[in-house]
Symmetry: C2
Subunit: 330 residues, 2 copies
């Protein structure tokens, strides 16, 4: 099968179809998404070597439980050990020995086939098209914010960052009814979310303050100072950004205003699928381009360009499903 | 009256007794405490010029409401405007226009007299001696942790720092019944709190992890790395340290383990006085030395020495009450 591998370089290679281990299904990928983390990994972050990618929708080709055969599924990306203290404490996503699809110790989904434990699979409702289902993982990451922080209908909330995750977070938070603001650098992306009733601002000269909750999702160090200036006393900053390097922060800036910072990573798949099925989240305008797997290297390069939103990669067997649906028509 | 002033230098000077403004009482200080913040201010932190000090117990000499006359009191240190959005939202300690006793726009208590709004005063129960009552403000700051974070009897908690606030925090947290650990650099201070059933460790070579809650109260940048290494996934770091400078932190270290950081400053006086009256908090072993006001400069210098705990300054009229109670006898 073809697969997009990072082994110091990003290369499209031919590899054998993987063998499912005990408890695992063999999945044939329909459509995969490229995430900011994939870009970081392709620059050496997390020391991962292997097949890239962790956002997908797929068909179950083989499974130890027959009811899964032929199901269209998405899959959680953390593979916990199941026995350590964190797994037993109900925190399997924080298992220290976990493998993570396309990120840590487990080949990813920018390939024709992957294997994944049955426990990781979620069936996709028939009413959710592939091009929506492929957003389940990042949508779950957006929903993690609402699992961790109580954002109320009357909360005043600022999202910092107009990348694909920032826009998805704004789509989730607008459902709460909160007073929602977003600051970013890409006029086109600001227009996209502004059209959905979110108040948007260019980053240059932004100086508002007093927000109950600030979501930092720029993916680069500039967002932290904006977050500190924008959050109210005793307010909460949710950190979604990850970037390498040491930074230059004095954490005691949090002490006098008694600000809370919440690190936030992965989230729950089931409510993500419910919101997609109910059409309360419509990610179609977040798709910038769809590439065939044969052009996955080009897809990754394009995904790293400024202002580009979600790049999808379609697998050979399903090309006719997806590539006929370019962004403008979705 | 004599007063310890910082105006670029630390000096003991003669000043007129202050005039109470509308709503204020005139207080004659009995005993004052020196805090780490006073030391920072005397090195230029917070750009404060004026009389130092914000921990005290005093007698009410004049007051617009006669029931306060002659009462022995402690006083909250924040003087909010009372009308801004934060004051009206129930967050007067975060009023942007607030003055703070001995820290911002308001002369402090290392002097024979101060003025303070009646709203800031708390009567001290007769059973609480001066040398205990003077700890009300830092004890309230320790209690702020329990106002902000739900620490349970079964929580596993680490305090980083064996200074006077760290030891006071450990005294408060042991009351919760939690599994309590403290790491520090001063063998004598570790022995003090170890004798009260807290597990203590020297900082060199400390490598434990998996704590539900970590309190960072070292007052210097070294504590942050220890806190990050010690906290469990989805655990909480409470930041009590303030220090100047930029630091060198990458805040995204919080994202993958989904750690929460809570900045914590001032706390509630009423429960602090209750715990002192019930003798559930006994701060006497935290007193390193008691100086007369005439030696307040020497007191401040000594307070800055490594391993020194609380330094108290007694006022001339009350010297006989306090200076006869040296640390060993308390």
């Amino acid at each position: 099968m073809q697969a997009l591998v990072y082994d110091g370089d990003v290369r499209l290679v031919d590899l054998p179809v993987p063998e499912p281990q005990a408890g695992e299904a063999l999945l044939r990928i329909r459509l995969a998404g490229i995430c900011g983390t994939d870009l970081h990994i392709s620059r050496g972050y997390a020391d991962f070597h292997g097949i890239l990618g962790h956002e997908f929708v797929a068909d179950v080709m083989a499974a130890p439980e027959p009811q899964w055969l032929g199901r269209r599924v998405v899959g959680e990306i953390n593979l916990p050990c199941g026995t350590c203290a964190w797994c037993q404490a109900g925190l399997p996503r924080h298992c220290a020995a976990r493998r993570v699809l396309g990120i840590r110790g487990k080949d990813g989904c920018l390939a024709e086939f992957i294997t994944l434990p049955l426990a990781n699979l979620h069936a996709v409702p028939d009413t959710v098209p592939d091009a929506f289902a492929v957003f389940t993982e990042p949508l779950a990451a957006a929903l993690a914010i609402l699992e961790q922080v109580h954002i109320c209908p009357s909360s005043r909330v600022l999202v910092i960052g107009d990348g694909k995750l920032g826009l998805l977070i704004a789509q989730v938070l607008r459902l709460v009814g909160c007073d929602l603001h977003l600051v970013g650098r890409q006029p086109r992306n600001l227009d996209l979310i502004g059209a959905r009733g979110v108040k948007v601002y260019p980053a240059d000269g932004f100086a508002q303050a007093g927000f109950d909750v600030v979501i930092e999702v720029t993916g680069n160090p500039s967002g932290w100072q904006t977050a500190l200036q924008a959050v109210r006393p005793r307010g909460t900053i949710v950190l979604k950004s990850t970037y390498p390097g040491r930074g230059a922060e004095n954490p005691t800036a949090l002490v006098v205003p008694e600000v809370t910072v919440v690190g936030s990573r992965c989230g729950p798949f089931a409510p993500a699928l419910r919101l997609l099925a109910r059409r309360l989240i419509n990610p179609k305008k977040l798709i910038s381009r769809v590439y065939p797997l044969a052009q996955a290297r080009e897809a990754l390069a394009y995904a790293g360009q400024r202002g580009v939103l979600k790049i999808l990669v379609e697998m050979p067997l399903y090309e006719s499903n997806v590539s006929v649906v370019p962004r403008a028509a979705l």
